[in-house]
Symmetry: C2
Subunit: 283 residues, 2 copies
Amino acid sequence: MNTQAQTTPTADPQQTAASYFKDLQERICQAFEALEPNGATFDVTPWEKDPDAQLQGSGEMRLMRGEVFEKVGVNFSDVYGTFSPEFAKQIPGALENGGKFRATGVSLVSHMSNPHVPTVHMNVRRIETSQSWYGGGADLTPTFAYDEDTQAFHAAMQQACDGYRDGAYDEYKKWCDEYFHIQHWDEPRGVGGIFFDNVNSNDEDKDFAFVQAVGEAFLTIYPQLVAQRMAQPFTEAEKTTQLYKRGRYVEFNLLYDRGTKFGFATGGNPEAILMSMPPEVRW
Amino acid sequence: MNTQAQTTPTADPQQTAASYFKDLQERICQAFEALEPNGATFDVTPWEKDPDAQLQGSGEMRLMRGEVFEKVGVNFSDVYGTFSPEFAKQIPGALENGGKFRATGVSLVSHMSNPHVPTVHMNVRRIETSQSWYGGGADLTPTFAYDEDTQAFHAAMQQACDGYRDGAYDEYKKWCDEYFHIQHWDEPRGVGGIFFDNVNSNDEDKDFAFVQAVGEAFLTIYPQLVAQRMAQPFTEAEKTTQLYKRGRYVEFNLLYDRGTKFGFATGGNPEAILMSMPPEVRW
């Protein structure tokens, strides 16, 4: 926990956001565990960076290999450090601050045993350089897309956006479709959702409320979608189709994903960064 | 086939190299098929680029999913085109030539059913911009390293290098170890081999002979290593270890490999580029 950089801890928005993200991680894990029929639980691995490391701070990886959730990682981190001069050029406000930054967030990817249950990705984060902003989003990647699941997911994300400002949903939905496009196959990774970055309206409370709304919307809708499909029968062929679909997910995350690149570029924990990798994949 | 760029076809070194690479592909595939006990054979997929595409030329993908070779791709290509201005900056002699290039080569990766048989990667290529050079190499990635296999492989590569020039082997072996290092885990991808690029001694015949020696050394040693280990008993746990080891291979190829980046940056065929992906992987 970065106590040195804050003078009034309770009023530090980065600290406030970190507290919410940690709590969200806990509640998401509880909701996922509640869906496991035979008591599977998350393995919890707290980590703390060496004070001499490029990246400092702490975090908590939570990983469950259950019956419903074949593999799901829900990671929290609250870190600070100094970007390399080259990397600092790419980050708003970083050069003006000698490359110093703080970052906190929660990030998750689920890979489901039942190929009829969609994979989901969700991330909410707050970054501070000489500027500060929120980023994140949530998107669905089914192997077999069901319109009603897609619509319910989109509706939940729209509700979170509509409370923030007019036009936000259309903008963030479009951004999601553009971002999660697998360029070399010219195909979408999944059925979309929302994606946003550099969110700063000069109203910290409003922006924070938006990110909370995204977290809560996710926490409501995804466990519902899982519960509705987890007992649906599936064939060996459908499972195999899912394993190949996961290959595209791996390609996207390692070739294009900014979070992965950000993680490696800042000396992040590879175990945590790669928790998004599926348990079993085929090509 | 790029006939426009050549005035005396038989004396065109790019064409001579392409003919050798195509023949090498054929002989490698025959050697691999000969190791399959029940007649598995390569699927052959010739491809030709649309004359309007960014990349022009043709190639042939060969893929076998056999009993000994769980999945092996052996690809030949002979292409030409124009690099994007941004990409041209990174390639020797490309800017001086308006970004125009020709590239031909053969590339293979094997993923073996028996976890005691090492994965291998081999590539030899010739590139032409306003300059020309050879590149390539071969390296071994065992799940369970056997000293005698490693030594036999290194000895074969050393012999190919020793015929070229003093010091080449040590240089290319070191380059291989540096290149195939998985930065985020700070661990080697495998047990190495040789890696070389921008090889041009101003003696085309000598350089071409070296690349041929690498191809022939590979063709001699790897089928021997496969034959010696393919019937060795293995446990379920050893197979599982191999599947996790393959995850690291995927991480390297998608995060760091230049060939993959070169392929996507020049509008290459994703099916061919991703033929190196293992048939089954776990994380």
